[in-house]
């Protein structure tokens, strides 16, 4: 499948959305919806693809980013670092309608990166002496104690880029980069919404942030 897409990665929004299924685990880029592929998120809502496990830094706002999936009750479980800007997430969580797993932001980023770069996990001081250490193995290295954190993968990653070339090489804009380059490495199917799609060879190889080999499909944002 990957081989086919390598030949022609630029697809319609409809085509891309047809690969997202009920009940899947989906990573979505963005920090407070900056760097979130909004038209792909809107597509999930239009098609009512539900029962999802969603991994995103936060649930943004009721009318923006992943927050819209919460409001439309398409998420069964949310994994991220912050839900405070979207009152609907807390409401559904307290009512027992939405499972929420909170992870320190740096640990979330590194767990996703670990999955993408072939690590079996990593050792971090973050969360020691807090509820985060519950159920986790503690390992001492050179007299310092660390928590063992494990990789985090998904079925699908939905990313936002400023520019994509036809090979899937990506460039981001300002604070919209955040989790996108990490998620690009950590999902079975990677779909990118790009503001601009340019021909092969028109991006300077030195400026490319995400190598195109991680990207399966590109949709015009």
């Amino acid at each position: 499948m990957k081989g086919w897409f390598r030949l022609k990665k630029v697809v319609s929004r409809e085509e891309a959305l047809s690969h997202i299924k009920e009940g899947q685990t989906i990573m979505i880029g963005g920090f407070l919806a900056v760097g979130t592929p909004e038209t792909l998120v809107d597509g999930i809502i239009e098609k009512r693809i539900g029962n999802l496990t969603v991994i995103n830094n936060d649930t943004a706002f009721v009318d923006k980013g992943t927050g819209k999936l919460v409001v439309n009750r398409l998420i069964k479980k949310f994994i991220g670092s912050h839900i405070g800007t979207n009152p609907e997430t807390g409401k559904q969580m307290h009512a027992g309608e939405l499972e929420v797993e909170l992870i320190p932001q740096g640990t979330l980023a590194e767990r996703i990166r670990s999955a993408g770069v072939g690590f079996g996990g990593f050792l971090t001081p973050t969360g020691l002496g807090t509820v985060v250490e519950k159920g986790k193995q503690k390992i001492e290295i050179n007299g310092k104690t660390y928590l063992l954190e494990l990789p985090l993968r998904a079925d699908v990653a939905l990313l936002k880029a400023a520019k994509a070339d036809e090979s899937g090489n990506l460039i981001y804009y300002r604070a919209a980069r955040n989790f996108n380059p990490l998620m690009a490495m950590a999902a079975d199917l990677v779909i990118v919404e790009a503001d601009e799609i340019v021909p092969k060879g028109s991006l300077d190889p030195d400026e490319i942030v995400t190598p195109g080999i991680f990207v399966d499909m590109i949709v015009k944002g």
Binding site: F31, L32, S81, G90, P104, L108, P125, V132
Partner: protein
């Protein structure tokens, strides 16, 4: 008389040294940037992925993709740079942030900090706070000395779920400056007009009183 918050952030600003990489938390800590002395050049880190965080944009120059961790529109100063979240928290965890300034719900005499949740009431999530407190070289808590109801926030032992254990170095409130030491909280400075008795009466932890106490202003 200086307003309490202004007194706090002005004092925190004087802890910053030329060349420091600094992360300012959401709310009152953000205001510290307005009081950094002119001859002190610091680099502000924004956890959502850049260094060189600048002031709020002028009207007409807003860029919706340049926000701080609190979602406010900001700017990136010349010389600034953007990166992904793994790099951002690598900078934090790796000890490359000299000073992290955060607010607190509770802080205690061992340097434990609670600022991310109140069980059953407020569960916003820890965001980047746990990494910042565990990773920054110096952690400064900037907060009002008591709750709105006048109850102490500086305790013998935190009661709320912790953000990090034994990581706080300095506490700055409108009443004074305290330093966390292995022996306990040392009262380093008092705000103008505040007595040792007053600050102790509003603090649950027993303050260690040195022979000389400085002035906060």
């Amino acid at each position: 008389m200086t307003a309490p918050r202004e007194l706090i952030v002005k004092r925190v600003a004087r802890f910053l040294k030329d060349g420091d990489v600094v992360n300012l938390g959401i709310g009152m800590p953000t205001l510290v940037a307005n009081y950094v002395p002119e001859d002190v050049h610091i680099v502000l880190h924004s956890e959502n992925g850049f260094l060189g965080l600048g002031p709020n944009p002028k009207p007409g120059e807003e860029d919706p993709q340049v926000i701080n961790a609190g979602g406010q529109l900001v700017t990136i100063l010349p010389g600034g740079c953007c990166f992904d979240s793994a790099m951002s928290f690598g900078i934090i965890r790796g000890g490359h942030v000299n000073v992290s300034v955060l607010g607190a719900l509770e802080v205690d005499e061992e340097g434990n900090l609670a600022n991310w949740m109140v069980p059953g009431k407020l569960v916003p999530g820890m965001g980047g706070a746990m990494d910042l407190v565990a990773g920054a070289k110096t952690v400064i808590v900037a907060m009002e000395h008591t709750t709105k109801n006048g109850e102490p926030k500086i305790l013998k032992k935190c009661r709320l779920p912790l953000t990090a254990a034994k990581e706080v170095n300095i506490i700055v409130t409108e009443l004074g400056v305290m330093e966390v030491t292995p022996e306990g909280l040392v009262l380093k400075e008092l705000a103008p007009g505040v007595t040792v008795d007053e600050i102790q009466s509003k603090t649950e932890a027993k303050l260690i009183i040195p022979e000389v106490i400085g002035s906060m202003e």
